[in-house]
Amino acid sequence: MSQTRIGQEIPAGELMTPGHLACPGCAAPLAMRLVLKALGPNTIVVMPASCFTIIAGPWPQSSLQVPLYHTAFATGPAVASGVRAALDIRGKPDTTVLVWVGDGGTFDIGLQSLSGAAERNENILYCCYDNEAYMNTGIQRSSATPWGAWTTTTPAQHPEASNKKDILGILAAHRIPYAATATVAYPVDLLAKATHARNLRGTRFLHILSPCPPGWKCGDDETIELARMAVQNCVFPLFEVEDGERWRFTVDHAHDAVEPYLRRQGRFRHLSEEQVAHIQAEVDARWASLKRRVAASTSEGAVPPSLAIA
């Protein structure tokens, strides 16, 4: 998708204010800003413990211009289910309930709650901004941390030994109406997905790759470029799944080599050529698998949501 249309495509209204407490170069507030532009003011945010607990601001401040409920780590989808039920019974079915949570709260401690909500097909929008470790507590590994990565609990002598959990596959297996990946390097795509999700009912899931300069050990001016590289080298392809059935890509992927992406980040500095080759093989295998799923879906003749909205 062309990025030249950004000026026309992105609404001017802001529901996230300047003065938030994110680190320089953090992708999470960029993602929140875009998602809130898509959702508009008729939105209530539920936020389990994450970096964004800090970013949103301490009492009595808030960087969000919509109601915000901070909650305990494992509880985002359950609290959102309660908010949803309350709104519905008081005749406010059109208010969007947004759960905004990091990878730890999604892949690890919140997975049971998320699976419960998805199984019930709760009418909520769940956004996981994924910086691939517990960054708020000082860079500890999560099950979203990629194989080979350094974190403070996976030191370089013994880096992360598990592959990243396939969270989107897990959500798609719940056959929810909509699940998609997105990232801040493709704001029009992200906005289109959030807008499409807003207009659906049931559980909707956005998995947003969110580079973290302190955790990834990269420059704070490299966020967008690294996010773009992760898409183009198929580490983090951009696609969407409807009802767990219809899979499709939403941008073109060059399938670049993964090594330049790894070498730009201090968390991968220790990797040998063999380890880089291992990661490349793993990315290739996952990419081939994803392409097969998408190919099996193309006969459906579905229209990409970015076009459907226009």
């Binding site: 601001g57 409920y69 901070h70 909650t71």
Partner: protein, 386 residues
């Protein structure tokens, strides 16, 4: 309207009469008939509430918190391990000042697995900031469940209502079901003072620094200190409308007593029977039933026990390494009372994991209390076979 119903159905009727709007719960023995009955009521439309059938008790309490934060009347019920699993969110509900009402059917905690009653599940949650009310009969369970919403919503505090597993939860008794229109007058729809509202956006539960956190806990404590007064008013209203009242602390045949039994829950009914027998035999023995455990009704208990020589506390619970928990708290409450208003406290641990507390057991407690020159242990175990 009188109906014969089990304690668990009295809970469901209480929630229905209170016109709860959102229920979120997870089944656990011996609470299950609560969620079954409420599911029926929601399904047949007699209770137009949303019932969120969550995947765990942790999520049940979390969903109640979300619904309560959005301004609606919210209810759940659990037992034992379910309550323990909620623990984190019990703090969140109380600290967030969400007036959720929860019924806990008292059941022992494992291991070994035990589905029968004792109070260690709810008493383990005493420091979470919830009001705790213990019930003796199914009628009291129904009445207290409705009253709990009024108490909760006046003070923005969550309230936990307890009934003993099986002895009450599964035992059928005649229960007077109050008229819905009268209950509606007693308990109008909830109007939340603060809620998640897109027309008036605020952030709730954000980071608070050391310069603010203590004030939040202070305000919570001040609200809890209001509970006995507000509960008295709630009960007075209930008495006026429905002719029943229980009291945070109830004295039964306590006049001029030499020895008072202190009880909570269903063992109170057994103790009443024993007290009646003893009084018929001319013995000056009575009882004091403690309904409210949090906040601890220190002033009411000091008054109820003033001038009595010996008090025997029947604790169907144990704080391991210390003593029965009602006895422990009572001793602390009496410590700085005037000497002539401070009875000797004999703390008995009994009935754990559903072991029967029969009249013979209570007779044994009475004789041991009379014969002791002083309480040699803080935890006097009854009926244990070492």
């Amino acid at each position: 309207m009188k109906k014969v119903m089990i304690g668990n159905h009295a809970v469901a009727w209480g929630a229905r009469l209170a016109r709860v709007e959102v229920i979120s719960a997870y089944p656990i023995t011996p609470q299950t008939q609560v969620v079954e009955k409420l599911s029926e009521m929601c399904a047949d439309g007699t209770l137009p509430a949303r019932f969120i059938k969550v995947e765990s008790e942790h999520s049940a309490m979390a969903a109640c918190i979300g619904a309560s934060a959005a301004g609606v009347r919210t209810f759940t019920a659990t037992s034992s391990h379910g309550l323990a699993y909620m623990h984190e969110m019990l703090h969140w509900a109380a600290g967030g000042r969400h007036p959720i009402v929860m019924v806990d059917v008292n059941r022992a905690l494992g291991p070994g697995w035990n589905i029968w009653t004792d109070q260690n599940d709810s008493l383990s949650q005493r420091d979470t900031g919830w009001v705790q009310l213990y019930c003796e009969t199914s009628q009291e369970v129904l009445d207290t469940t409705v009253q709990a919403f009024k108490l909760a919503e006046v003070l923005d505090l969550p309230v936990m209502v307890m009934l003993d597993g099986f002895y009450l939860s599964h035992t059928a008794e005649p229960v007077d079901v109050p008229d819905q229109e009268m209950v509606d007058r007693f308990l109008p729809p909830r109007v939340a003072r603060f809620k998640l509202d897109v027309d008036d956006p605020h952030a709730f539960g954000a980071l608070v620094r050391p310069d603010t956190y203590m004030e939040m806990r202070w305000l919570q404590q001040e609200a809890l200190r209001e509970v006995p007064r507000v509960f008295e008013n709630v009960e007075a209203d209930w008495m006026r409308m429905f002719g029943r009242s229980y009291g945070a602390v109830e004295s039964y045949r306590a006049e001029d007593a030499e020895l008072l039994l202190v009880t909570s829950g269903t063992v109170t009914s057994t103790a009443r029977f024993v007290v009646d027998q003893r009084r018929a035999a001319g013995e000056a023995i009575g009882l004091v039933k403690v309904k409210m455990f949090r906040p601890f009704p220190t002033a009411l208990l000091r008054k109820a026990l003033a001038g009595v020589e010996r008090v025997a506390v029947l604790d169907r619970n144990i704080s391991p390494g210390h003593s029965g928990i009602f006895a422990e708290e009572l001793r602390a409450a009496l410590y700085d009372a005037p000497a002539d208003e401070r009875p000797d406290v004999y703390g008995y641990v009994l009935g754990l994991g559903g072991r029967d507390i029969t009249p013979a057991v209570i007779d044994d407690v009475i004789e041991r209390t009379r014969q002791s020159t002083k309480s040699e242990r803080e935890d006097l175990w009854v009926g244990v076979n070492p």
